[in-house]
Subunit: 124 residues, 2 copies
């Protein structure tokens, strides 16, 4: 299960893809412990670069990502994780996918509809 | 077209997805110049972290990636680039996708077939 964590300061890039639709849902980063927990628990777990801590996706929202398949790339510094998403969306802004803005005529435009109200899910 | 290049030392993560099949083909990294060239030329261009130079994908192999759509994620430190691949594969090891190894019982196993012979494409 060796991955190249050295190339990016202890992290590999993790692309999260919906196993049913093949939509790319988000990009996160995993250190060795996050990757081990992802494999062992079957729920996608990341290293939060901003909060500098392990982050079980869905720990606040309940929208966990159930791992269906994990691939790695030729130089083994990235993983592709196919998941079944528990909940209406992975993005904390209320969208199914974090990639809800598309480039058109030099501007990023929101090209997706919210699937849930984040204020109802992430309560302070 | 603002992206957050500051979070990862001047780079954003670029996920390359086949526009027709939605297969994830590779993960690369773009600095501001690579991103600008990708948008302006319509061919995916990366910053090679190992060679420390701009890298027009396909400059050696001829297997360029024609940009069909570019999305960005909520915190704008990653882009998702849907492409049409010119050629049989994006991976320099001869596969359609760089993600040709899948985790099974704790081991990475090659679960894809080569689509071309890299020794015929990358000549020294």
């Amino acid at each position: 299960m060796t991955l190249d964590f050295a190339k990016s300061d202890g992290l590999v890039t993790a692309v999260i893809q919906d196993a049913a639709t093949n939509r790319v849902l988000m990009v996160g980063y995993m250190n060795e412990e996050a990757f081990r927990r992802t494999v062992e628990t079957g729920f996608a777990t990341f290293w939060s670069r901003s909060r500098k801590k392990l982050w079980l996706k869905g720990e606040s929202s309940g929208h966990r990502l159930v791992v269906k398949e994990i691939s790695t790339d030729c130089d083994q510094d990235a993983v592709l994780v196919k998941v079944e998403s528990q909940g209406p969306g992975v993005c904390h802004e209320g969208y199914q996918s974090c990639f809800f803005r598309t480039l058109a005529e030099g501007e990023w435009r929101v090209t997706d509809k919210q699937t849930y109200d984040p204020s109802q899910v992430y309560q302070s």
